[in-house]
Point group: C2
Chain length 209, copies 2
Protein backbone atom coordinates (compact mmCIF):
# COMPACT_ATOMS: atom_id res chain seq x y z
CA UNK A 1 0.00 0.00 0.00
CA UNK A 2 1.30 3.49 -0.75
CA UNK A 3 1.99 5.62 2.29
CA UNK A 4 0.57 8.80 0.84
CA UNK A 5 -2.35 9.42 -1.42
CA UNK A 6 -1.23 8.97 -5.03
CA UNK A 7 -2.45 11.59 -7.54
CA UNK A 8 -5.09 10.55 -10.09
CA UNK A 9 -2.66 11.20 -12.93
CA UNK A 10 -0.16 8.75 -11.47
CA UNK A 11 -2.89 6.17 -10.78
CA UNK A 12 -3.97 6.42 -14.43
CA UNK A 13 -0.39 5.58 -15.46
CA UNK A 14 -0.05 2.57 -13.13
CA UNK A 15 -1.71 0.09 -15.56
CA UNK A 16 0.70 1.32 -18.25
CA UNK A 17 3.65 0.54 -15.95
CA UNK A 18 2.14 -2.85 -15.21
CA UNK A 19 1.73 -3.68 -18.90
CA UNK A 20 5.23 -2.54 -19.90
CA UNK A 21 6.93 -4.25 -16.96
CA UNK A 22 5.05 -7.50 -17.71
CA UNK A 23 6.21 -7.34 -21.33
CA UNK A 24 9.80 -6.63 -20.28
CA UNK A 25 9.71 -9.56 -17.88
CA UNK A 26 8.48 -11.85 -20.67
CA UNK A 27 11.31 -10.58 -22.90
CA UNK A 28 13.82 -11.63 -20.24
CA UNK A 29 14.79 -8.24 -18.77
CA UNK A 30 16.03 -8.45 -15.16
CA UNK A 31 16.91 -4.80 -14.50
CA UNK A 32 15.95 -1.62 -16.31
CA UNK A 33 17.05 2.00 -15.93
CA UNK A 34 14.58 4.88 -15.71
CA UNK A 35 16.09 6.09 -19.00
CA UNK A 36 15.33 2.81 -20.84
CA UNK A 37 11.87 2.43 -19.30
CA UNK A 38 11.08 6.04 -20.20
CA UNK A 39 12.07 5.51 -23.83
CA UNK A 40 9.79 2.50 -24.10
CA UNK A 41 6.85 4.20 -22.40
CA UNK A 42 7.23 7.60 -24.07
CA UNK A 43 8.02 9.38 -20.78
CA UNK A 44 11.17 11.15 -19.61
CA UNK A 45 13.55 9.42 -17.20
CA UNK A 46 12.77 12.09 -14.64
CA UNK A 47 9.00 11.46 -14.91
CA UNK A 48 9.63 7.75 -14.38
CA UNK A 49 11.73 8.43 -11.27
CA UNK A 50 9.14 10.87 -9.94
CA UNK A 51 6.28 8.39 -10.48
CA UNK A 52 8.13 5.51 -8.87
CA UNK A 53 9.17 7.65 -5.91
CA UNK A 54 5.55 8.70 -5.58
CA UNK A 55 4.33 5.13 -5.15
CA UNK A 56 6.81 4.22 -2.54
CA UNK A 57 10.56 4.72 -3.26
CA UNK A 58 12.07 1.77 -5.07
CA UNK A 59 15.40 0.84 -6.65
CA UNK A 60 18.79 2.44 -6.27
CA UNK A 61 20.08 5.39 -8.25
CA UNK A 62 22.53 4.09 -10.84
CA UNK A 63 21.47 0.47 -10.61
CA UNK A 64 18.05 0.74 -12.20
CA UNK A 65 14.99 -1.17 -11.12
CA UNK A 66 14.44 -4.89 -10.74
CA UNK A 67 11.75 -5.56 -13.36
CA UNK A 68 9.91 -8.36 -11.57
CA UNK A 69 9.99 -6.70 -8.16
CA UNK A 70 8.75 -3.38 -9.57
CA UNK A 71 5.98 -5.13 -11.53
CA UNK A 72 4.83 -6.96 -8.40
CA UNK A 73 4.97 -3.74 -6.39
CA UNK A 74 2.81 -1.92 -8.98
CA UNK A 75 0.43 -4.88 -9.03
CA UNK A 76 0.13 -4.70 -5.27
CA UNK A 77 -0.66 -0.98 -5.34
CA UNK A 78 -3.28 -1.73 -7.99
CA UNK A 79 -4.88 -4.19 -5.59
CA UNK A 80 -4.19 -7.17 -7.85
CA UNK A 81 -3.43 -9.54 -5.02
CA UNK A 82 -6.87 -11.03 -4.86
CA UNK A 83 -9.37 -12.59 -7.20
CA UNK A 84 -12.15 -10.18 -8.13
CA UNK A 85 -15.60 -11.62 -8.82
CA UNK A 86 -17.65 -9.78 -11.44
CA UNK A 87 -21.15 -9.82 -12.87
CA UNK A 88 -22.22 -8.13 -16.11
CA UNK A 89 -25.59 -6.45 -16.48
CA UNK A 90 -26.61 -6.50 -20.13
CA UNK A 91 -25.69 -9.36 -22.47
CA UNK A 92 -25.58 -7.33 -25.70
CA UNK A 93 -22.42 -6.78 -27.71
CA UNK A 94 -20.50 -4.90 -25.02
CA UNK A 95 -21.51 -7.35 -22.29
CA UNK A 96 -20.45 -10.25 -24.49
CA UNK A 97 -17.18 -8.57 -25.40
CA UNK A 98 -16.32 -8.20 -21.70
CA UNK A 99 -17.38 -11.78 -20.92
CA UNK A 100 -15.12 -13.05 -23.73
CA UNK A 101 -12.12 -10.83 -22.96
CA UNK A 102 -9.42 -13.34 -22.04
CA UNK A 103 -6.96 -10.77 -20.67
CA UNK A 104 -9.22 -10.08 -17.67
CA UNK A 105 -9.05 -13.60 -16.28
CA UNK A 106 -5.27 -13.60 -16.61
CA UNK A 107 -5.31 -10.62 -14.22
CA UNK A 108 -7.66 -12.40 -11.81
CA UNK A 109 -10.83 -10.58 -12.78
CA UNK A 110 -13.40 -13.36 -13.12
CA UNK A 111 -16.86 -12.97 -14.64
CA UNK A 112 -19.30 -15.29 -12.86
CA UNK A 113 -22.60 -14.43 -14.54
CA UNK A 114 -24.40 -12.09 -16.91
CA UNK A 115 -27.89 -10.66 -16.40
CA UNK A 116 -30.29 -9.55 -19.11
CA UNK A 117 -33.98 -8.81 -19.68
CA UNK A 118 -33.97 -11.41 -22.49
CA UNK A 119 -31.97 -14.01 -20.59
CA UNK A 120 -34.34 -16.87 -21.45
CA UNK A 121 -33.19 -16.76 -25.09
CA UNK A 122 -29.50 -16.74 -24.30
CA UNK A 123 -28.39 -19.65 -22.14
CA UNK A 124 -24.63 -19.27 -21.75
CA UNK A 125 -21.94 -16.92 -23.02
CA UNK A 126 -18.35 -18.17 -22.86
CA UNK A 127 -19.48 -20.77 -20.36
CA UNK A 128 -21.04 -18.16 -18.02
CA UNK A 129 -24.76 -18.37 -17.28
CA UNK A 130 -27.04 -15.58 -18.50
CA UNK A 131 -29.66 -15.02 -15.81
CA UNK A 132 -32.84 -13.00 -15.80
CA UNK A 133 -32.30 -9.49 -14.46
CA UNK A 134 -35.09 -10.03 -11.90
CA UNK A 135 -32.89 -12.68 -10.26
CA UNK A 136 -30.13 -10.15 -9.49
CA UNK A 137 -31.11 -9.24 -5.87
CA UNK A 138 -31.29 -12.91 -4.88
CA UNK A 139 -27.99 -13.64 -6.63
CA UNK A 140 -26.24 -10.77 -4.83
CA UNK A 141 -27.52 -12.04 -1.51
CA UNK A 142 -26.12 -15.52 -2.12
CA UNK A 143 -22.81 -14.61 -3.84
CA UNK A 144 -19.90 -12.25 -3.31
CA UNK A 145 -19.64 -9.78 -6.18
CA UNK A 146 -16.78 -7.26 -6.15
CA UNK A 147 -17.38 -5.49 -9.44
CA UNK A 148 -20.62 -4.91 -11.35
CA UNK A 149 -20.29 -4.11 -15.05
CA UNK A 150 -23.06 -1.99 -16.56
CA UNK A 151 -23.58 -2.74 -20.25
CA UNK A 152 -27.30 -1.99 -20.53
CA UNK A 153 -28.86 0.82 -22.63
CA UNK A 154 -28.46 4.36 -21.23
CA UNK A 155 -32.04 4.71 -20.02
CA UNK A 156 -31.74 1.55 -17.89
CA UNK A 157 -28.24 2.26 -16.55
CA UNK A 158 -29.04 4.17 -13.33
CA UNK A 159 -31.61 1.56 -12.29
CA UNK A 160 -29.10 -1.23 -12.95
CA UNK A 161 -26.51 0.67 -10.94
CA UNK A 162 -28.89 1.17 -8.01
CA UNK A 163 -29.70 -2.55 -7.95
CA UNK A 164 -25.99 -3.41 -7.75
CA UNK A 165 -25.34 -0.88 -4.98
CA UNK A 166 -28.40 -2.05 -3.05
CA UNK A 167 -27.07 -5.62 -3.29
CA UNK A 168 -23.77 -4.57 -1.70
CA UNK A 169 -21.55 -4.20 -4.78
CA UNK A 170 -18.87 -1.58 -4.03
CA UNK A 171 -17.33 -1.05 -7.46
CA UNK A 172 -19.09 -0.25 -10.74
CA UNK A 173 -17.60 -0.32 -14.21
CA UNK A 174 -19.95 1.60 -16.47
CA UNK A 175 -20.12 1.34 -20.27
CA UNK A 176 -23.42 3.19 -20.73
CA UNK A 177 -22.83 6.70 -22.12
CA UNK A 178 -24.37 8.43 -19.09
CA UNK A 179 -22.95 9.65 -15.80
CA UNK A 180 -24.26 7.56 -12.91
CA UNK A 181 -24.84 8.63 -9.34
CA UNK A 182 -23.41 6.39 -6.60
CA UNK A 183 -22.97 6.80 -2.83
CA UNK A 184 -19.50 7.97 -1.67
CA UNK A 185 -18.50 4.47 -0.51
CA UNK A 186 -18.88 3.05 -4.02
CA UNK A 187 -16.09 3.33 -6.63
CA UNK A 188 -17.14 3.96 -10.19
CA UNK A 189 -15.19 4.06 -13.44
CA UNK A 190 -16.99 4.98 -16.64
CA UNK A 191 -15.72 4.07 -20.08
CA UNK A 192 -17.17 6.62 -22.48
CA UNK A 193 -16.44 5.13 -25.89
CA UNK A 194 -17.61 8.27 -27.65
CA UNK A 195 -15.16 10.43 -25.67
CA UNK A 196 -12.21 8.50 -27.07
CA UNK A 197 -13.58 8.97 -30.57
CA UNK A 198 -14.02 12.72 -30.04
CA UNK A 199 -10.46 13.06 -28.74
CA UNK A 200 -9.29 11.24 -31.87
CA UNK A 201 -11.35 13.65 -33.94
CA UNK A 202 -9.61 16.56 -32.19
CA UNK A 203 -6.16 15.24 -33.02
CA UNK A 204 -7.22 14.58 -36.62
CA UNK A 205 -8.49 18.12 -37.16
CA UNK A 206 -5.47 19.64 -35.39
CA UNK A 207 -2.84 17.32 -36.79
CA UNK A 208 -0.53 20.22 -37.60
CA UNK A 209 -0.63 21.34 -33.91
CA UNK B 1 -9.69 26.27 -34.38
CA UNK B 2 -7.80 27.05 -31.18
CA UNK B 3 -5.06 29.62 -31.55
CA UNK B 4 -2.60 27.91 -29.28
CA UNK B 5 -1.85 24.29 -28.68
CA UNK B 6 -4.30 22.95 -26.09
CA UNK B 7 -2.83 20.68 -23.40
CA UNK B 8 -3.69 16.96 -23.54
CA UNK B 9 -5.47 17.24 -20.19
CA UNK B 10 -7.82 19.91 -21.53
CA UNK B 11 -8.38 17.95 -24.76
CA UNK B 12 -9.36 14.91 -22.68
CA UNK B 13 -12.00 17.06 -20.92
CA UNK B 14 -13.48 18.49 -24.14
CA UNK B 15 -15.80 15.50 -24.79
CA UNK B 16 -17.05 15.89 -21.22
CA UNK B 17 -17.89 19.54 -21.89
CA UNK B 18 -19.60 18.53 -25.10
CA UNK B 19 -21.74 15.91 -23.36
CA UNK B 20 -22.75 18.15 -20.46
CA UNK B 21 -23.51 21.14 -22.67
CA UNK B 22 -25.62 18.94 -25.00
CA UNK B 23 -27.59 17.67 -22.00
CA UNK B 24 -28.09 21.21 -20.66
CA UNK B 25 -29.30 22.37 -24.08
CA UNK B 26 -31.82 19.50 -24.18
CA UNK B 27 -32.99 20.50 -20.68
CA UNK B 28 -33.70 24.02 -21.96
CA UNK B 29 -30.78 25.95 -20.44
CA UNK B 30 -29.85 29.09 -22.39
CA UNK B 31 -27.06 30.49 -20.21
CA UNK B 32 -24.95 28.89 -17.51
CA UNK B 33 -22.37 30.28 -15.09
CA UNK B 34 -18.96 28.70 -14.57
CA UNK B 35 -20.11 27.98 -11.00
CA UNK B 36 -23.20 26.00 -12.11
CA UNK B 37 -21.35 24.18 -14.88
CA UNK B 38 -18.57 23.29 -12.46
CA UNK B 39 -21.02 21.84 -9.94
CA UNK B 40 -22.57 19.61 -12.61
CA UNK B 41 -19.23 18.45 -13.98
CA UNK B 42 -17.43 17.99 -10.66
CA UNK B 43 -14.90 20.76 -11.38
CA UNK B 44 -14.31 24.11 -9.67
CA UNK B 45 -15.61 27.32 -11.26
CA UNK B 46 -12.03 28.47 -11.69
CA UNK B 47 -11.05 25.27 -13.55
CA UNK B 48 -14.02 25.79 -15.87
CA UNK B 49 -12.98 29.39 -16.58
CA UNK B 50 -9.38 28.35 -17.14
CA UNK B 51 -10.37 25.56 -19.55
CA UNK B 52 -12.70 27.76 -21.54
CA UNK B 53 -10.12 30.55 -21.74
CA UNK B 54 -7.65 27.97 -22.92
CA UNK B 55 -9.75 26.97 -25.90
CA UNK B 56 -10.36 30.45 -27.08
CA UNK B 57 -11.88 33.02 -24.67
CA UNK B 58 -15.64 32.85 -24.56
CA UNK B 59 -18.49 34.43 -22.63
CA UNK B 60 -18.45 37.49 -20.42
CA UNK B 61 -17.54 37.56 -16.75
CA UNK B 62 -20.76 37.85 -14.75
CA UNK B 63 -23.07 36.85 -17.56
CA UNK B 64 -22.13 33.21 -17.86
CA UNK B 65 -21.86 31.30 -21.09
CA UNK B 66 -24.41 30.81 -23.84
CA UNK B 67 -24.97 27.04 -23.71
CA UNK B 68 -25.61 26.42 -27.41
CA UNK B 69 -22.82 28.70 -28.62
CA UNK B 70 -20.32 27.14 -26.22
CA UNK B 71 -21.40 23.62 -27.20
CA UNK B 72 -20.96 24.45 -30.89
CA UNK B 73 -17.58 26.03 -30.19
CA UNK B 74 -16.38 22.93 -28.33
CA UNK B 75 -17.75 20.75 -31.15
CA UNK B 76 -15.80 22.81 -33.67
CA UNK B 77 -12.56 22.45 -31.70
CA UNK B 78 -13.23 18.71 -31.56
CA UNK B 79 -13.44 18.69 -35.37
CA UNK B 80 -17.08 17.62 -35.35
CA UNK B 81 -18.02 19.73 -38.35
CA UNK B 82 -17.69 16.99 -40.90
CA UNK B 83 -18.92 13.48 -41.40
CA UNK B 84 -16.24 10.91 -40.54
CA UNK B 85 -16.23 7.65 -42.49
CA UNK B 86 -15.09 4.61 -40.52
CA UNK B 87 -14.27 0.96 -41.17
CA UNK B 88 -13.92 -1.69 -38.48
CA UNK B 89 -11.32 -4.44 -38.72
CA UNK B 90 -12.55 -7.47 -36.77
CA UNK B 91 -16.23 -8.39 -36.55
CA UNK B 92 -16.09 -10.08 -33.15
CA UNK B 93 -17.90 -8.75 -30.09
CA UNK B 94 -16.03 -5.45 -29.87
CA UNK B 95 -16.33 -4.80 -33.60
CA UNK B 96 -20.05 -5.54 -33.44
CA UNK B 97 -20.51 -3.34 -30.38
CA UNK B 98 -18.93 -0.40 -32.23
CA UNK B 99 -20.98 -1.08 -35.38
CA UNK B 100 -24.18 -1.09 -33.29
CA UNK B 101 -23.36 1.92 -31.12
CA UNK B 102 -26.09 4.40 -32.05
CA UNK B 103 -24.47 7.39 -30.31
CA UNK B 104 -21.64 7.47 -32.86
CA UNK B 105 -23.87 8.14 -35.85
CA UNK B 106 -25.62 10.94 -33.98
CA UNK B 107 -22.19 12.60 -33.76
CA UNK B 108 -21.54 12.06 -37.48
CA UNK B 109 -19.19 9.12 -37.14
CA UNK B 110 -20.45 6.66 -39.73
CA UNK B 111 -19.34 3.03 -40.00
CA UNK B 112 -19.38 2.00 -43.67
CA UNK B 113 -18.04 -1.56 -43.50
CA UNK B 114 -16.48 -4.24 -41.31
CA UNK B 115 -13.66 -6.57 -42.32
CA UNK B 116 -12.96 -10.02 -40.92
CA UNK B 117 -11.07 -13.21 -41.74
CA UNK B 118 -14.35 -15.13 -41.44
CA UNK B 119 -16.44 -12.61 -43.39
CA UNK B 120 -18.10 -15.23 -45.59
CA UNK B 121 -20.10 -16.55 -42.62
CA UNK B 122 -21.30 -13.14 -41.48
CA UNK B 123 -23.10 -11.20 -44.21
CA UNK B 124 -24.22 -7.96 -42.57
CA UNK B 125 -24.05 -6.39 -39.11
CA UNK B 126 -26.49 -3.56 -38.38
CA UNK B 127 -26.96 -3.16 -42.12
CA UNK B 128 -23.22 -2.75 -42.78
CA UNK B 129 -21.47 -5.28 -45.04
CA UNK B 130 -18.84 -7.59 -43.54
CA UNK B 131 -16.09 -7.98 -46.15
CA UNK B 132 -13.15 -10.32 -46.33
CA UNK B 133 -10.00 -8.78 -44.85
CA UNK B 134 -8.13 -9.50 -48.11
CA UNK B 135 -10.42 -6.97 -49.82
CA UNK B 136 -9.25 -4.12 -47.58
CA UNK B 137 -6.52 -2.64 -49.85
CA UNK B 138 -8.89 -2.49 -52.81
CA UNK B 139 -11.64 -0.98 -50.63
CA UNK B 140 -9.31 1.73 -49.32
CA UNK B 141 -8.30 2.62 -52.87
CA UNK B 142 -11.92 3.07 -53.93
CA UNK B 143 -13.36 4.72 -50.78
CA UNK B 144 -12.48 7.54 -48.41
CA UNK B 145 -11.91 6.23 -44.90
CA UNK B 146 -11.10 8.72 -42.12
CA UNK B 147 -10.91 6.38 -39.14
CA UNK B 148 -9.94 2.73 -38.95
CA UNK B 149 -11.09 0.81 -35.88
CA UNK B 150 -8.91 -2.11 -34.82
CA UNK B 151 -10.91 -4.83 -33.07
CA UNK B 152 -8.87 -7.89 -34.07
CA UNK B 153 -6.90 -10.15 -31.67
CA UNK B 154 -3.65 -8.68 -30.29
CA UNK B 155 -1.35 -10.75 -32.47
CA UNK B 156 -3.04 -9.50 -35.65
CA UNK B 157 -3.34 -5.86 -34.57
CA UNK B 158 -0.08 -4.39 -35.89
CA UNK B 159 -0.60 -6.01 -39.29
CA UNK B 160 -4.17 -4.65 -39.43
CA UNK B 161 -2.86 -1.22 -38.45
CA UNK B 162 -0.16 -1.29 -41.15
CA UNK B 163 -2.75 -2.22 -43.81
CA UNK B 164 -4.89 0.78 -42.81
CA UNK B 165 -1.94 3.18 -42.83
CA UNK B 166 -0.72 1.84 -46.17
CA UNK B 167 -4.19 2.44 -47.59
CA UNK B 168 -4.05 6.10 -46.55
CA UNK B 169 -6.07 6.03 -43.28
CA UNK B 170 -4.79 8.82 -41.03
CA UNK B 171 -6.56 8.00 -37.73
CA UNK B 172 -6.62 4.70 -35.86
CA UNK B 173 -8.85 3.77 -32.95
CA UNK B 174 -7.33 0.69 -31.35
CA UNK B 175 -9.15 -1.76 -29.05
CA UNK B 176 -6.51 -4.50 -29.09
CA UNK B 177 -4.57 -4.59 -25.78
CA UNK B 178 -1.21 -3.82 -27.43
CA UNK B 179 0.61 -0.61 -28.25
CA UNK B 180 0.78 -0.07 -31.99
CA UNK B 181 3.46 1.72 -33.98
CA UNK B 182 2.28 4.33 -36.50
CA UNK B 183 4.11 6.99 -38.55
CA UNK B 184 4.08 10.52 -37.07
CA UNK B 185 1.41 11.75 -39.51
CA UNK B 186 -1.13 9.20 -38.22
CA UNK B 187 -3.23 9.86 -35.09
CA UNK B 188 -3.87 6.93 -32.82
CA UNK B 189 -6.05 6.49 -29.74
CA UNK B 190 -5.98 3.21 -27.86
CA UNK B 191 -8.75 2.05 -25.55
CA UNK B 192 -7.17 -0.33 -23.06
CA UNK B 193 -10.16 -1.95 -21.38
CA UNK B 194 -7.98 -3.67 -18.84
CA UNK B 195 -6.41 -0.37 -17.75
CA UNK B 196 -9.80 0.96 -16.69
CA UNK B 197 -10.40 -2.19 -14.69
CA UNK B 198 -7.01 -1.91 -12.97
CA UNK B 199 -7.66 1.72 -12.04
CA UNK B 200 -10.98 0.59 -10.54
CA UNK B 201 -9.12 -2.09 -8.63
CA UNK B 202 -6.78 0.58 -7.26
CA UNK B 203 -9.65 2.69 -5.97
CA UNK B 204 -11.31 -0.40 -4.46
CA UNK B 205 -8.23 -1.42 -2.52
CA UNK B 206 -7.50 2.17 -1.45
CA UNK B 207 -11.05 3.21 -0.74
CA UNK B 208 -10.06 4.88 2.52
CA UNK B 209 -7.51 7.04 0.67
Amino acid sequence: MPKEKVSNAVVARLPLYYRYLSALETQGYVRISSQQLGEKMGLTASQIRQDINCFGGFGQQGYGYNVTALKMHVGEILGMTSNYRMVILGAGNIGRAIANYKAFEKMEFVVDALFDVNASQMGEISGKPVLDITELPEYLEANTVDIGVIAVPSDAAQQACDALVQGGVRAIWNFAPVDLVVPPNVSIKSVHLLDALLVLSYYMSNSDA
